[in-house]
Amino acid sequence: MTAEKLNIRKFIGINKNKVYTDERLIFNDPDSNFKTIGKSLYNMLKCSYPKYYKMDNLSKLTFLVTEMLNKEVNLKQFNPDKTAIILSNSESTLDTDRKFTSTIDTIPSPAVFVYTLPNIATGEISIRYGLKGENLFLVEESFNPKILVEQTEMLFADSDTEVCITGWTDYIDQDRYKACLWLIERYSGSRGRIFNAPELQNDFNMTE
């Protein structure tokens, strides 16, 4: 199994009130509360997706960053069976775990419980775009571009994956949240940047 040469087709990052795509700042709001930002982005993107309102914060964040990725690169152009999703974060779903814990002694809600798995966010974007490719969710102490690159390269080498949405999507609380997604495809000449850990780290740092 030899590592495939891969390209970054697109990068999108949300860090609180700022949104970046590749090297441009495309959104900046004076307020950084997720409730406000979520609403502004949802409206700006002209989403009409009632399921959004049922999602927990991690899924909402992942959904919004994917909507922006889709705006830049139409995700429907790819083979849905061969579009994979590799995500990672540090919190897993602690925000929702705490919410669910507070209801255990009263009326635990299945609508909250289902969001206590981080890959529900993967499921939400899979449903939105009909993506049926491979999935992997990893929990890391902090953003770890090395492992994201490793996992993505090994996936391309060991499957018929054509594109992969690789990234970090972490929700701590309404003032601290960050999501960075890279759309990765097989090397196809000069289009896009080379996919490697320093590139991912640069993009990640740019949103700081």
Binding site: A3, D97, I104, P118, I127, K132, V139, E140, M154, D158
Partner: protein, 367 residues
Amino acid sequence: MAYINHDNIIISLGTSTDEVLSQIHAGITGIKHEHNYQYLTKSPVSVVSREKIEKETSSLNSNLTFFEKITSLSLQKVLSESLIDVASPRTLFILSTTKGNVGLLKTEQKDSRDVFLHHTAGKISRLFGFKNDPVVVCNACISGVLAIIVAKRYIDSGKYDNVVITGADVVNEFIVAGFESFKSMSELPCRPFDADRDGLSLGEGAGTVVISKDPSEKSIRVVSGASANDANHISGPSRTGEGLFLAIKNTVKDDSDIDFISAHGTATPYNDDMESFAIHRAGLDYAPVNSFKGYFGHTLGAAGIIETILTKHSMLQNLVYKSLGTNKPGTIKNLQIIDQNKKIELKRCLKLSSGFGGCNAAILLEK
């Protein structure tokens, strides 16, 4: 090539693979009504004896949670048998879990670092002297099978010589309240693939495997593996088994026979129908099938590891175990459910798993 070498299982039925196998061979279930337990539920569960674990972990660091104790004990048992060098840069530790220490959130330790899965993994990794940072796979109920796929890819890519995976989850108030809110727990020990099945039984436990580039005397090869999403619903499987079908199709790439399928078989009405559909679509409805969940329930992030270990030992012994709890098979598509322990030649076997978020995964094992 990636081989599954040493292994250990800790569940209600025992704290070693041999102990567990002898109970399964005798048709014993560990799913019971637990009256003196920390939560109230009408449903029976499969839990590990706290006393037994306390005794067996007395030599370990006492500042470990119960989750960390079963994880460490399982790991300790495997590492004492296997000769791998944990401190080598060519060795990796993977923790597969859905919820880790989530139970702490309802205690005074709710602000402890132990609620972070990566923190727990780091703590256990350091306890045993692994030098590489651990990897945590947290992908609902397919975590275990997915961790094996990740390990196989690491071995095949030449990055590591040995990958040690421990899959673990515990039954606590959080998990029970969640599954009860979904009304997905049966008031009887679960009956996978049965016509009258009415829900799952929760189980807890830990399972550890060493996946290596070199085979040992008793090893099974991980030939291939794949995951796929249903893209249908976050808490219910696709009725047509879309994702699982794709995962099987991408795992089994030739026409050679499959001798046995260790299904996910949770005993919820939807899951088992979905699996029967996917197995049919893949043209594998001739293969003998069981679910191990009738013996020790659904062990969540540990399930894929524990059930793969049992499949491995089935293969080594050329023995398939009966699908405990399936009294009257009844799924939307007929399956060849194994109704008694049987000696059959096992060369190529399939392990399946599915979970919330529409995720599915399969691995092909070969002897």
